[in-house]
Structure formats: structure tokens, C-alpha cells
């Protein structure tokens, strides 16, 4: 019977804790991100940014005369866990809105729950187009995969003047595959030729088989829309095989480790990104300075988008003047706000209309190259 006593004790604990809730003087905002698991670094940047944005609003007196309280939950980068924490935030903690989460597959598990409960949700970085298609309460702060692939193609064809491209991507990852598909579509439409379109499986570290095939076709540019560990190795191995042309990628390249792993091989490489720390707009410089002072590191794109998403949400609540789901949703739809990653307005699919920046790697540093408008 000891076991039953244990179960009863745990049950009692859960119910006891359930009784705790925050006071009416605060507005409770749910925040979701993966602070443990494979995507932990993304989650930590995002969480830092949520906290920083809220602290700034609270210092200015909060929203609607109330202080904002962040109710953060870890989704571990897992859809089932995501469904659980979204339900917890809405049903248990009774948050008025949710900012999150990072990975598309987890946002896709959370979005139907928010939609059914009428709780507005804004994902900072889920780039899969399907996320906001779940319903009219779901928004995002980042551009979507098609846009980034398209921008990569336009930049390669128009700016780099490359007429032949090779594509190498992780075909076990939706992000990589999405970018590669849309790059190919746009590049072909512009008049370029994709001479080789090669996939590799997740976790590979030797890309020489595919690269040998690609390099033999003599492409002018190599598109590698993967995460930075893979991209750095691809760049190294491509250079070893004698490829001297530019390599182009997406926001998965944005990591200090890219240059550490890739060394001189990632010179003459470009990637599309959400923001550049070298952007001279005061809002960007202000954000970079404050984030560095608080957390001791240069904010990555995840931090910038997490900060933007929280600001967009709080701005909407302020304009709504109320905290019910429908009012916040309507205010979100009418958003027209200058944030770190640009001027944000939402289109009919609740995806932001904003520009992308292209960053070049020069002498081991990320250098702002150009801004591409949709």
C-alpha cells in the first residue's frame, strides 16, 4: 500500500500547488522556449530576451497600469511537452497571451491549443508557414522559410551574379529542406540553373561524396541552408575540393562557432538573417548594448526575435486597452511597430512583412552586406 500512499501524496501536492496563482495587480504573460534539450542555446537566448523586454516595460510603468509578469515554461524542443506546457499556461496559470515558441514543430503542437482557448500566441522564430495557418490567434515575429530561400536565390543571382548553383542540404530537417526547395524554385525562375541538388542525412560530418559531385558541375555559388556546425564543415570540405566561389546560407549560420569551426574556409560566405548587430538604427544599437551589458554576449537572431515578439505582444495589449483574447488579437493584427528586426506589419496570414539582411563573413567577422526587401 506504500505505493498508493505515495501517489496520493503527490496528487495532494499537485492540487495544493494548483491553488497558488498570481495577484490581480499583474498581467501574466506566458513565455515558452526550449531551455533544455538539443535546442537549449536557442531557448536560453529567447528566455533572456523575454525577460529583458518585460523588465524594460515594467521600468516604464508596465502595461495598462499593471506590472507584467513572465510565466516561463520549458518545452524541451518536444511537441508532446509543448502541448503540455501550452495547456498548463492557459488552463492552470491563466495567462492572457503566450509568446513562444522557438521550434516550428513545437509551435504547431501549441497553436491549436491557443486557438481553441482564444489566447493570442506569437512565435518568435517558428519559420514553418503552417504555424500561423492554424488560426487567427496565431502570429509570428520572423519571416518564413519561403521568404528566406527566395531572398537567398535573389541575392545569389542578382548581387553575386552567379548563374549556376549547387545546393546541399540536410534532408532530415524541415528548416534546411524548406529553404533549399524555395531557393531552387526562385533561382530557376530568375533564369539560373541549379546544376546539382543534393541531400545528406542528419548528423553527417563527411560531405565529400556530395561535394565532389557538386564541384564537378562547376557551380558559381553553393547554397548550404543548414545549421552552423554542418555549414562550417561543408565550407571546409568544399574548399579542400577546390571550390573557390561564394557559399550562401540562411539564419542557421548565425553563431560565433561558425568561424571557430570553419576558420578561413567561411571567408567569401554570405547568409540571410533577421537582423545585423551592425545595423545603425538606434533601436538596434540600444538593444545590442543593453543585452551585452546584462548577459555578457552579443545577442544572436533568436534573442533579437524573442525581444521583438515580446515587444509586439505587449504593444498590442497596450493598444487593446483590455486583456481579453479577442481584443489583443485585433490589436496584434493592426500592429505597425519598429522593432530590432525591422518595421513590423502583419499580412493576411499573420506573418510579418519585413526585410531580411544579408551578412558577409570577412576576416572572421560578421559584416552587414545589404538589406533585401520582400
Amino acid at each position: 500500500m506504500k505505493v498508493y500512499a505515495k501517489i496520493a501524496a503527490i496528487g495532494a501536492m499537485v492540487l495544493g500547488l494548483a491553488a497558488c496563482s498570481s495577484g490581480p495587480k499583474e498581467i501574466l504573460i506566458g513565455g515558452v522556449g526550449p531551455v533544455t534539450g538539443a535546442a537549449a542555446t536557442f531557448g536560453v537566448s529567447t528566455k533572456n530576451a523575454y525577460e529583458m523586454a518585460i523588465a524594460e516595460w515594467n521600468a516604464k510603468g508596465g502595461v495598462l497600469g499593471k506590472q507584467i509578469k513572465l510565466d516561463f515554461a520549458d518545452d524541451k524542443g518536444d511537441p508532446t511537452e509543448g502541448a503540455t506546457v501550452y495547456t498548463k499556461l492557459i488552463q492552470q496559470d491563466k495567462v492572457v497571451a503566450i509568446v513562444g515558441t522557438v521550434m516550428s514543430k513545437v509551435s504547431l503542437a501549441g497553436a491549436p491549443i491557443c486557438q481553441a482557448a482564444g489566447i493570442p500566441m506569437i512565435s518568435p522564430t517558428s519559420t514553418n508557414p503552417k504555424v500561423t495557418q492554424v488560426g487567427d490567434y496565431i502570429f509570428r515575429a520572423c519571416f518564413i522559410d519561403p521568404f528566406q530561400g527566395t531572398v537567398g536565390a535573389q541575392f545569389s543571382y542578382n548581387t553575386l551574379n552567379a548563374k549556376k548553383a549547387g545546393v546541399l542540404f540536410d534532408n532530415g530537417n524541415d528548416y534546411d529542406k524548406g529553404l533549399a526547395e524555395y531557393f531552387q524554385a526562385e533561382y530557376t525562375k530568375l533564369g539560373g540553373t541549379v546544376v546539382d541538388y543534393e541531400g545528406y542525412s542528419t548528423g553527417a560530418t563527411d560531405f565529400k561524396a556530395q561535394l565532389t559531385k557538386i564541384v564537378a558541375q562547376k557551380p558559381d555559388v553553393l547554397y548550404s541552408p543548414n545549421y552552423y556546425q554542418d555549414d562550417a564543415l561543408i565550407a571546409k570540405q568544399a574548399r579542400e575540393l577546390g571550390f573557390k566561389g561564394p557559399i550562401v546560407g540562411g539564419d542557421g549560420w548565425d553563431s560565433p562557432d561558425l568561424v571557430k569551426i570553419g576558420g578561413s574556409a567561411v571567408e567569401n560566405c554570405y547568409f540571410t538573417n533577421h537582423y545585423s548587430k551592425d545595423d545603425t538604427r538606434p533601436i538596434v544599437q540600444d538593444f545590442v548594448k543593453k543585452y551585452q551589458a546584462k548577459y555578457g554576449e552579443v545577442p544572436d537572431a533568436l534573442a533579437a526575435l524573442g525581444y521583438d515578439a515580446m515587444n509586439i505582444m505587449l504593444d498590442a495589449i497596450k493598444r487593446a486597452g483590455k486583456t481579453d483574447g479577442a481584443s489583443i488579437r485585433d490589436a496584434l493584427k493592426a500592429t505597425d511597430l519598429a522593432v530590432v528586426s525591422g518595421q513590423v506589419k502583419f499580412d493576411a496570414n499573420r506573418d510579418p512583412i519585413k526585410s531580411a539582411v544579408v551578412i558577409a563573413i570577412q576576416n572572421g567577422q560578421q559584416v552587414y552586406k545589404t538589406t533585401v526587401n520582400p
Binding site: S22, F72, P79, A83, T84, I90, Q91, L108, G172, D174
Partner: protein
């Protein structure tokens, strides 16, 4: 009435949860935790049949769950989202019926694959079988990743959310009853004989290959059921949900509960699922009410620590090899 006490206990549990949920004591958050626990019950009990009862070592259990999730998810998505089946009159059969048939179809598909895999590979023993099943799980994941029709690496999305407490509970209950009955039958005795000593079992006239494959396919069937229920609970199936790490998680449940003990698997599934959430609430409470700033990432540290302690002080698992009394069949006395 083979299981009077077990039936009563299950009915009381079901009625209590339904009642508490109706009056609002248990909100959606608790219901999703209970539903997840019950799905883990199915997975752990079915893996226990393979690992604990038949004495084989499978590391690819979530691979079978993936088959169930994708097969049933594709069926229901096709029937309820596309116009064609409406024309054929399939959708008019009633959502519940179609859903349950789809779940069973997912289980059957998993069992069929389990049979195909099991037939050649169950000649292997111990480590070798573990490697084959591990490889199988990865193969399933890779295949799913490369079929664009079912979403590829983006996952199968927009599966109707049909899984509710009643359906999940019914399947979990049936899983425990069926596996329990199997163990108590002559088939189950043969499986236990294989676990204890395969050579001796063979010499005593037990068709070892047949029973190993039967056990394996049965375990796969229920894993497929669990996968289907999970997909319809969170409305998507994603290849990364069915990887090696998740299979290892189910293995942990079986070991923590006790190899060969169905009671142990059931308890471990509930305890470990609830433990994560209790830790989450404790950290919320420490942060909010007490004012100690602790990051949410500490839940995983404490969780792992508790598992280590269980294994140190109860290496045979919570229940050892024993069963709760209500699960034991009454013996006929002569």
C-alpha cells in the same frame, strides 16, 4: 468475471477522473498529463512484454509507435480533411468509429512490420538483437523523413484531435488486460520459459521462434496503438518524436517499474510523467511565492537524480518482479 477487483479499481479510477474533470477540479492541464501517462502505460506495458516477459531486448519501440501514428494519422486526416472519402460515405460512419478503426489499423500495421522484422532478427540474442531493433527504429525515422506525402521532416500536421480520456483509458485498460491474460495463458508461460532459459525451453518442446515473434508482434501492435493515440492527442506526428532517445525513455519506464512487472510499468508511467510536472510546479512555486530564482532547466537535473537514486536503492525497479494483488489471476484450487 476474471478480474473482479481489477475491473472495479479501473472503473473507480475512470469515474473519479471523469467526475473531477466535470466539476472542474482537474483542468485541461491535468487531463493532458493523465492522458500522456496512460499512453506511456500502453508503451511501457507492451515493451515489458518483449523485454521483461519474453526476455528479448528491443531498443526500437518508438519505431512501432511511429508506424501507428503515421498510419492512423494519415487515415483520419484523409477521411476528415479531404472531400473524396466524404463522397465514398466513409466520414458518415461517425467520427468515433472511424477514429478507433484507424487506431487499430495503425496497431495492425505496426504488428505486421514487427512480424517482418522479428522473423529474421529474433534468431539473434542479447546485444545483437538490441542493435537490430535500434537500427530498425532509425530506419523507420529515416523513411518517414523522406516521404513528402506524409510531411517528411516537417511532420504530419493537422491530425484531428480525437484522443480523449475515455478512448485512451479504454485502450490502456485493454492493453493491460490482454497482456496480463496472455502472460497467464500457455503462450505466456512459453514466453516466460524462453526468458528463463531459451535452450531448456527449446528442449522442452517450446517453439521458441514462434513465441518470440508472437511476443514481439504483440508488443509492436500496442506500441502502434499508443503512437496513434499520441498523434491524435497533440494533432501532429513528427519524426523526431519517435527517435532512439524516446525509445530509451520507455525502456527507463520498464526498468524503473521493474522488469516483468506490469504493475511496475503502470506505476512508473504515471509516476515519472507526473514527476516532471510536479517538479515544474515546485520550481514555479519557488520562483513565484518563495522568491528563490531557480531556472526551469533544473527540473531535468532533479528528474535524473531521482532516477539514479531509484536505480541505486531499488535496482530491481519499484515493483521488482511482483504484481499488485488485483492484477493476479485467482488460482483454481483443486
Amino acid at each position: 468475471m476474471k478480474y473482479p477487483k481489477f475491473l472495479v479499481a479501473a472503473a473507480v479510477f475512470y469515474a473519479a477522473i471523469m467526475l473531477l474533470s466535470l466539476v472542474g477540479v482537474l483542468n485541461g492541464y491535468f487531463m493532458i498529463i493523465i492522458n500522456r501517462s496512460l499512453i506511456f502505460v500502453i508503451l511501457a506495458v507492451s515493451l515489458n512484454l518483449i523485454n521483461g516477459i519474453t526476455g528479448q531486448f528491443s531498443l526500437g519501440h518508438m519505431g512501432f509507435a511511429a508506424i501507428g501514428a503515421y498510419v492512423s494519422g494519415t487515415i483520419t486526416t484523409l477521411i476528415f480533411k479531404l472531400p473524396l472519402p466524404h463522397a465514398l460515405g466513409l466520414a458518415e460512419m461517425g467520427a468515433e468509429t472511424v477514429f478507433i478503426l484507424a487506431i487499430v489499423a495503425g496497431g495492425a500495421a505496426a504488428a505486421f512490420i514487427g512480424f517482418l522484422i522479428g522473423f529474421p532478427s529474433l534468431r539473434l540474442k542479447g546485444d545483437y538483437l538490441a542493435i537490430v531493433t535500434l537500427g530498425f527504429g532509425e530506419i523507420i525515422r529515416t523513411i518517414v523523413n523522406n516521404i513528402d506525402y506524409i510531411g517528411g521532416p516537417r511532420g504530419l500536421l493537422g491530425i484531428p484531435m480525437f484522443s480523449n480520456f475515455t478512448v485512451i483509458f479504454a485502450f490502456a485498460f485493454l492493453t493491460v488486460v490482454i497482456i496480463r491474460n496472455t502472460i497467464e495463458s500457455s503462450h505466456g508461460r512459453a514466453m516466460l520459459a524462453i526468458r528463463e532459459n531459451e535452450l531448456a525451453a527449446d528442449l522442452s518442446g517450446v517453439d521458441t521462434t514462434r513465441y518470440k515473434v508472437t511476443g514481439f508482434a504483440m508488443g509492436a501492435f500496442f506500441a502502434g496503438i499508443a503512437g496513434g493515440l499520441l498523434a491524435h492527442l497533440i494533432s501532429l506526428a513528427h519524426p523526431t518524436q519517435f527517435g532512439f532517445l524516446q525509445s530509451a525513455m520507455i525502456l527507463i519506464l520498464v526498468y524503473a517499474g521493474g522488469m516483468g512487472s506490469l504493475t511496475g510499468s503502470v506505476i512508473a508511467a504515471f509516476l515519472l510523467t507526473f514527476l516532471t510536472e510536479v517538479l515544474r510546479l515546485v520550481i514555479d512555486w519557488l520562483n513565484g511565492t518563495v522568491g528563490i530564482p531557480i531556472g526551469t532547466e533544473w527540473t531535468m537535473v532533479v528528474y535524473a537524480l531521482i532516477l539514479i537514486l531509484v536505480m541505486l536503492f531499488k535496482p530491481e525497479g519499484l515493483m521488482g518482479g511482483r504484481e499488485a494483488k488485483i492484477l493476479i489471476l485467482p488460482r483454481k484450487t483443486k
